[in-house]
Amino acid sequence: MSVAEAQAPPCAFCMAMRRISMAVLPVLTVVSVIVAIWYGGAYLMNRWVTLDTAQRQGVELTFNELFADTMAQERPRLPAPHQVAAELWNTTAGEELFRERRGELRPNPRNLLFHAYQTLAPTLLGFVIGSLAGLLLAIGIVHNRAMDLSVMPWAIASQTIPILAVAPIVIVVLNAVGLTGVVPKSLISAYLSFFPVVVGMVKGLRSPGAIDLDLLRTYSASRTETLFKLRLPASVPFLFASLKVGIAAALVGTIVAELPTGARFGLGARLLTGSYYGQTIQIWSALFMAAICAAILVAILGLIERATLRRMGLNR
């Protein structure tokens, strides 16, 4: 940096812009490299079908024709990014949310937002149940040594078990008992968000140091008062960290839970029907919808986290 630059106070706007470009530019580069690889892959993987058809029809293709065709097939092996984007747009903005059927106004199953809702509703319900239960158990564990010793090893071990993979069975069993619809799926997501919250919150509730606990003892505070005035506030950063892990797991859980049970609605169902009928564009658009949902959920939690921590004076 030259002397003149160092002395002239840079305008706030330029600084902000520079900071943004420092953060955004590398990300943009990586993303555009990924998109470029994707286009290249789409060309390479879809080429054979095009060449095959051309050979059967006895047509010679120029490179431009070949490339154009690989980007616009109906059932490509790998749909090009713009095809997926177009499908996403057409099935969300291009379809009505509700349509009239047999004289009633019903949700339109052609709309991807409807499927996203079918997946998100049980995810959120289960997430709330699972997190609350996890919070209660964590409070119990912190206050009771027997509970700590007996539950914690199992809570930790349960993280290593591929529960997600057996989620479908739970659905089948609950269907056999007569529970259908939102409840079985939300039980899965409740279970999946339960353990991260337990483990994280036990850590969080124990995070106040001996000094703080001693201080409350000199105030002759009861355990309930200690819990609400010291332990719970101290555990808030841990709570949000585990909630973020939990909600991502809950969403994946709901999607997987929809897979082998032949669910008709939901993002998992879209994946499954897409794979049955070879509708690759549908699979990819469902996949992106799931990704968007996950990103939005985590982002919302992140915003709440920032606002909460700021009000508590805890943000860095």
Binding site: M22, V31, L149, V151, I169, S220, L272, G278
Partner: protein, 302 residues
């Protein structure tokens, strides 16, 4: 007196009271309650004594109690085996089907999950080494990587099955896709973990890039690498099993679960779940052991 009153755990006491009263209508509840309270009493007594005895036996007793309550509930209430088989029935199914379970284990865990795990984690590590040399790439890769790591990658399973067929190759590919980004993020973080002072010291020794990588930066990265490796064990199993739901040869854990659920042979399904649980815990435990051997110097291991 007041303090003692305030410290009574309200929720558990309320639950016990409710159960006692419900027992007047259904005597079987009293049996279950008695077993639970008995085990809990033993555990509370044990927990008061410090030391390794309590730390080992309290969780064991708790686990056994849960299994016992499960067995008792199934027997007392004559729960249909289609809904929930008793643990004893699962054990019998496990013993009778060891050959099938073993074949499924080899197909799914060894050929699918393990191969994908090694390839995925290896590739992620190599990419992390490359990314690490350029701060620009690092800044771009970390946010993108951690974004992708939070996505429902399992959803790519139908795509890989479509591309690579029903064999173990498609399962391994799903596992690669699942473990790649969590591992990448952890490896990149790990390679940054050494102190500036330490790196300067290596510089004053005129150490080359590779020397400082092997002697300083890889060892300091190990705790992060193992963190990634441990997260990925579970992901690998999930990926391999879920991918089989979309198509598989007539062997494999996901295939077996799907088929036996259809035939309502829930005891075999639960035996398969037991295998998955044992495999997951074993795999994770193996990584933890390795970690303890290799990162004995780290504060978290002391």
């Amino acid at each position: 007196m007041n303090a003692a009153l305030r410290n009574i755990p309200i929720l558990p006491v309320a639950a016990v009271v409710v159960l006692v009263f419900a027992g007047f209508y259904d005597l079987r509840l009293w049996v279950l309650l008695a077993v639970w309270l008995g085990a809990w009493y033993i555990n509370t007594r044990l927990a008061r004594s410090d030391g390794p005895v309590a730390a080992l036996w309290v969780p064991v007793i708790f686990g056994l109690t849960l299994v016992g309550l499960w067995e008792l509930t199934v027997r007392l209430y004559e729960v249909s085996p289609v809904i929930l088989p008793a643990p004893s029935a699962i054990a019998v199914a496990f013993a009778q089907n060891t050959d099938i379970l073993w074949a499924d284990f080899v197909q799914t865990i060894l050929k699918g999950a393990l191969v994908g795990y090694v390839i995925g984690c290896g590739a992620a590590f190599l990419v992390a080494l490359a990314v690490d040399r350029s701060p620009f790439l690092q800044k771009g890769m970390l946010p993108v990587g951690s974004f992708l790591a939070a996505l429902p990658i399992v959803g790519t399973a139908p795509i890989f099955v479509m591309w690579l067929g029903f064999g173990p190759a498609s399962k391994a590919a799903v596992v690669v896709a699942m473990v790649f980004f969590p591992m990448l993020v952890n490896a990149v973080e790990g390679l940054k973990a050494s102190d500036k002072m330490q790196r300067d010291l290596m510089h004053t020794y005129a150490a080359s890039y590779w020397q400082s990588l092997v002697k300083l930066r890889l060892p300091t990265a190990l705790p992060f690498l193992f963190n990634g490796l441990k997260i990925c064990t579970t992901l690998a199993l999930i990926g391999a099993i879920v991918a089989e739901f979309f198509g598989s040869p007539t062997v494999g854990m996901g295939f077996r679960i799907k088929i036996e659920v259809g035939r309502l042979a829930m005891d075999v399904v639960w035996a398969e779940i037991t295998v998955a649980a044992l495999a997951g815990t074993g795999f994770y435990g193996l990584m933890t052991l390795l970690e303890r051997q290799l990162t004995f110097w780290h504060p978290s291991q002391r």
